[in-house]
Amino acid sequence: MDLRRRDVLAAAPVLMTLAEARAQGVTPRRGGTLTTMLTPEPGLLQIGVNNQGPTIVSGSKMFQGLLTFSPSLQPIPVLAKSWTISPDGREYTFRLQENAKFHDGRPMTADDVIFSITKFYPEVAPRARAIFALIDSAEAPDAHTVVFKLKQAFEPFLLMFDVSASGIVPKHLFDGLDYRTAPVVQRPIGTGPFRLVEWQRGNFIRLERFEEYWKPGQPYLDGIIYRIVPDSQSRRLAIETGQAQLTQANDIEPFDVPALRARPNLEVNTAGWEYFSPVSWVEINHRVAPLGDPRVRQAMSMAIDRNFIAQRLWFGVGRPATNPIASTTKFHDRNVRIAGYDVRAANALLDAAGHRANAQGVRFTLKHLVLPYGEVWSRLAEYLRQSLRQVGIVLELESTDAGSWARRIGNWEYETSVNFVYQFGDPTLGVERTYVTSNIQRVTFTNTGGYSNPRVDALFATARTVADAAARQAAFTDVQKILCEEVPQLWLMEMAFPTIHDRRLRNVVTTGLGVHTSFDDVFLAS
């Protein structure tokens, strides 16, 4: 009941934006080119073959999934007009848009959908591989209907049909080739409202309106230009001087946000990350003594002031985390919370665990691998060093670059670090992987910390296989309780990223995927 009420409330702003636009008499204006930026420049623009954030930002304009999701994670039709789910939760039937076309003029049909879901993504994308393996059979009763029968019920199945998980690719350009090296990978062909015209590496990516787009009269924009601007101060300057009209994701450092908020011609929006809902945490390697002791982790967690991090380091972009599941994700239980900021209790807990302070007030020393993703993460590391010193823990900071960081986390060669991971709307899709024993692997973004608890494994397994949402909620509530007691990772923030745009640019953030949508309804008001 509670969940449903929040859904309605969360969906309200979207409806209001559209209603407001109508009320103010702003009819969408056709024309104009949007100049924005993309950071960092992806190696490839083919969605699926490359799954970096920037690839999805630009790729979501060229490709589309069957669905997208509202801020409360309710499905919204895209290439699927409608869908039905059988009562036992094992049969999904999608009816497809009849006049959707690929950029090369060929119609998009059920064949392309079946190819994308059962062949393309399981081959190239590890995230899809595990879940689409549940598909027992995929059939096309006619050219515009697809029926997936699952081996077992899988409640979060629909969440896998967003463009970021499974944008539909053209079968006729991939089938029979190595998907990673097919020629079309260099010049992506999708069904989206914009098609790729030119990509000068290191300089810009230029998209143009696709004239045969299936929504009549759309898109409104003539084109979108993604400039590649590697320096964050130059990017800030670009949006300040009007050389760009939109920034997203990591383009702008959080400490530059207050200054941009103050500019009357710009709008700063932190919504639109509900589907991904990244949660950041202090990454703990449980194999390193004394980090295997839950009392030590609990004490470290209590020594961190999350409000300070959210307000002073991220300037209000994002919220303090309250438990391992982001509050924007389904099955978050707001009544289950980690222990609050309490230095005295943290010290007492460490004393009780037998870690006495020496004459310098030092209990023990830990190494900390600084996350090399920009200035704000270095500041976070310095804050962590300072706050853990209050409870007698010395943090020795080690700098590194992205390649070494990924390698060392993946190989478990670290003591502590910072990490953040997308939750993809459902704990089974995005939370489970960090805590279950079966996912302790030598790869980044698995259970690299090495936490293992049979009860947690069992609860996640139940939530994965049970079709009933209430039963899943019960399992997830128990998981949240156990994890909040054992704090396998020290959750810091429910992250968001600022989407900053010129006020004349309308309809930028309307769904739970924000800038990762097709932009077919975005327009530049005069």
Partner: protein, 328 residues
């Protein structure tokens, strides 16, 4: 300088150059592979959820499953055939990636280099002629300021003044995208974008040349052959150009030869601040992504250019100073 001496000299130097470049390739290969992490782990770190199968697929595709000495042998073989390899991250041949970016870098560094040499030598000569007077003081102070100021700060200040306050010049990029300019309009557009980064990159070197020219000219001015020329009644302007400046240029050329090589790699900072789509950034991004083939390709090209510039410097010596002989 006769052809009979020049050809054997050139041949000898070229053979040495090839050996030097090959040695550099081998050193670079080990250096690049010594950095922790590989392209597969970087890509796994960037693409969200991954599994061991994904890593294994990538390593096989990139040829990283081969032992290191096999990889080196394969790379050397292809470099000798002038094939710089393939970037799996970008699914494109390295030669094409470099070729796409080389013009932008050559334009930027060429402009900065020409500006630095012309402005630096002119200012240095002016200062030397008016030594001790106000013009000399102004030039010396300017030169010292630009010599001591970090590049990126100069860049940011130029952007602040010319892009933000005056709004005369764009703050980043190489051209106006989407404007579809042609002919002179396109040239003018690129020139507008080029001005700030070229100035930023050139000002430091300009200062170096100005100081160098001034110092050596002052030294030469006091020498006997200048006094002789003056006693003969040679006009003062001719003395400065033919006797003083020509002799004072030798150290400038030495330095310019070194700088020309450095400019290719040394522009990473300016290319980053001004979002200039050049080769320095290509190398930097390849380093972060552990894109070995691209990184080695850029190293290869820059080392070839440095070696060539050294050769050209030696030849220029002989042109400017007849006492220097090639092959000697």
């Amino acid at each position: 300088m006769e052809l009979g001496k020049l050809l054997p000299f050139l041949g000898g130097r070229l053979v040495k150059a090839v050996a030097v470049v090959l040695a550099i390739v081998v050193c670079n290969f080990f250096l690049v592979h010594a950095a922790p992490g590989d392209p597969a782990s970087v890509m796994a770190g960037q693409s969200g959820p991954a599994d061991p199968l994904f890593l294994e697929q990538l390593r096989r595709q990139f040829g990283l499953d081969q032992p290191l000495h096999v990889q080196l042998w394969l790379y050397l073989k292809s470099v000798v055939m002038l094939d710089l390899g393939f970037s799996h991250r970008q699914q494109a041949p390295v030669a094409i990636l470099i070729w796409e970016r080389l013009p932008a870098t050559l334009l930027l560094t060429g402009a900065a280099f020409s500006f630095a040499v012309v402005a630096g030598v002119t200012l240095g000569a002016l200062a030397a002629q008016r030594v001790g007077r106000w013009a000399d003081s102004v030039i010396t102070i300017l030169a010292l300021t630009f010599y001591a100021t970090p590049l990126f700060w100069v860049g940011l200040m130029l952007v602040l003044v010319f892009s933000v306050w005056l709004e005369w010049l764009p703050s980043f990029g190489m051209s106006s995208v989407g404007a579809d300019l042609t002919g002179m309009a396109a040239v003018f557009d690129v020139a507008q974008h080029l001005l700030l980064p070229a100035l930023t990159l050139g000002l430091f070197y300009m200062a170096v040349y100005a100081r160098l020219t001034r110092a050596t000219m002052l030294e030469v001015q006091g020498q006997d052959f200048v006094k002789t020329a003056r006693a003969k009644g040679v006009p003062e302007g001719r003395i400065t150009r033919a006797h003083v400046l020509r002799n004072a240029l030798l150290p400038v050329i030495t330095f310019a030869g070194i700088q020309a090589g450095q400019l290719i790699g040394g522009s990473i900072l300016v290319e980053t601040v001004f979002a200039w789509p050049g080769i320095g950034r290509l190398a930097f991004e390849a380093l972060l992504a552990r894109d070995y083939a691209v990184l080695l390709g850029v190293f290869f090209c820059t080392s070839v250019i440095v070696v060539l510039f050294n050769l050209m410097t030696d030849l220029l010596y002989a042109l400017i100073d007849p006492r220097v002989e090639v092959g000697g």
